[in-house]
Amino acid sequence: MIQRIRTIAFHTFKESVREKVLYNLIVFALLLIGSAVLFASISLGIGRLMLVNLGLSSIAIFGLLMAIFIGIGLVSKEIDRRTIHNILSKPVRRFEFIIGKYLGLMLTLLVNTSIMTGGFYMALYYVERRLGGEDLLPLEAIYFILLQFAIVVGLALLFSCISTPILSAFFTFCLYVIGNFLGDIRWLGQESGSRIFEKVTVLLYYVLPNFSDFQVISQSAHGISVPPFLLTSGTLYALLYVTILISAAILVFEKREF
C-alpha cells in the first residue's frame, strides 16, 4: 500500500513540476521578492519590515495559486483524459490514489516554497548584509503558510472529485477568502443582536476552514514570535481539517464510476 501511494505521489510530483504554469508562478514570485529589495531600499527605517511583509506575502499568494491551479486538476484531469482507467484497473485502491495525489502535490508545494524561501532569504541577506537569529522568525510564518496550503490542496482535491476544474477553482478560492474573514464574520454575528444570525455565523466559524488564525506574516515582520500554543493548535487544526477533507474526497471517489 505504502509503495503504491509513494509511486502515485512521486508521479504526481513529476507531473506537477513539468507544468509550465508552475515555472511562470515561481518566476513571478521571485521577481516580486526581488522587487521587495527595491521597496526596502526606499523605505526609510522600515526596509526590513517591508521586505519581510512583501516577501512572505508573495510566497503565500503564489503558493496559493499553485495549490489551486494544480489541485483542481489532480483528479478531474485524470478523468477527462481517461488515464484513470489505466490506473484503477491495476491493483490500486481508490483511497491510495487520492492520498497519493494529495501527497504528490504537497511535495511539489514544499519544494516550490523552499525555492521561494531561498529567494526570500537571498533578498534579506542582500538588504541586511547579514543573517541573524531574528531572521529565523519568518520561518514560522512560512510554516503557517504551508499549513494553509495543506488545507487548500485538500479543498481543491475534494472539489476536483465532484466538480469541473473551473467550479472547483471558484469554490476553493471562495472558501479561502471566506476562511480568512471567519473571525470577523463571527464577531459580526455576535454584534448583530439576532440569535439566528449569531448561530449561523458560529456554525460557519466551526464548519468552514478557518484561515484567519494562520495569518502571522505581520507578526513575523514585526519580529514577534508565534506562541507555542498557536503553533501546536494550528498544526492539529490543519491535520484534522485535512483528514476530514481527504476522507470526504475518498468517500466521493469510492462511489464514482468511470
Partner: protein, 328 residues
Amino acid sequence: MLAIETVDLTKDYRVGFWRKRPRRVLDRLSLEVEVGEVFGLLGPNGAGKTTTLKILLGLVFPTAGTARLLERDARDISAHRNVGYLPENPSFYDHLTAQEFMTYAASLFGLSDKARPRQVGRLLEQVGLAESKNLPLRKFSKGMIQRLGIAQALINDPAVIFLDEPMSGLDPVGRREIRNLILRLKENGKTIFFSTHILSDAETLCDRVAILDHGRLRGCGELREILEVGVFSTEIVLEKPSRDAVVALGPFTSSIVRTGDRVRLELRAESDLNNEVLAQVVRWNAKLISLNPVRMSLEDYFMERVGEDDTSLSRKSAKVRTESPKSE
C-alpha cells in the same frame, strides 16, 4: 478453472437532468470464459461491450448480478494483480516518456527495482517502441500509443488480458504484429478477452465469441461451431464463358456477377453441385477458375443475430406507431 464469469450482470445508468430515469445498457449477461481461451465480445457501437469490460475491471459497478475474475469478485483488488487492460483509444500522460510511463505502470504492480527495467525494456522491444522509449508521449502517433497501451497491459505478465478494440488506430503492419502477439500470448496459456467490432480480427483470433446487442447476449459459442454450420451454397467462377453457357446455367443459380472476363455464379442452395451443372460447364467449354463451398462467415452470423433484433425492434416500433392512434 474459469478465468472470467458473469452471472446475470445488469447495468442501468440514470439519465436525464431533472427526473432521472434508468437506462439499461447491460441486461442479465451471463458468460463463462475458460483459462487459456481467446474470447471475443462482439457487437455494434453502444452494445454494452465496454461497460462489460469496465465492470469486470471495477471501473463501473453493476446494478445487479455478479462478475468474477479468476474465481474472485471483480471488485476484489487482489484479482487485478493478474490482469492486464488496454482501454479503448488509450490516453496516457503527455509529459512522460514511454520508458517513464512503463516504469510507473511496473511500480504500481510492485515489480522489484531489478525486474522493472528488464521487463520495461523487453516489452518496449516486443511492441517495436524500443527506439522511441525516451520520446515524450505527446509526440507519439495514435498507433504508437496503441502499442504502448498493449505493452503496459502486459507489464505484470498477467494471466488474463482485457483488450478493448486492440486493433483500432493501427496500420496493416501494426495489426498483423498485434495479431501475432495475441496468438503468442495464447500459446503461452494467457486468457484474452477482447471486444471488437472488426469481425475479421475476431474470426482470425477467437476460440469463442459472444455477440452483444442493446446490452443483451444474442449468441455465444465456439467459432468452429458458428462457422461450420453447413454449406450455404456453391460458388463457381468461370473465365470468358459464352453467353449460351451463362444462359444454360441460369436456372441453377441464385446470382450471376460479371467482373471483366470472369463470371461468378452462385448456385441455389437447393440445387447442390450436381452432375448436370458440371455437364453444362463442360458442354459449353467454359474455363473453370474456381469452385468453392460458401459457408457462414462470422459477419453473416453477426448480421443474422443483430439483424433479427433490429427487425423485431422495427416491427415493435411499427406496432407502437399503428397502435398509438387507437389509444389516443
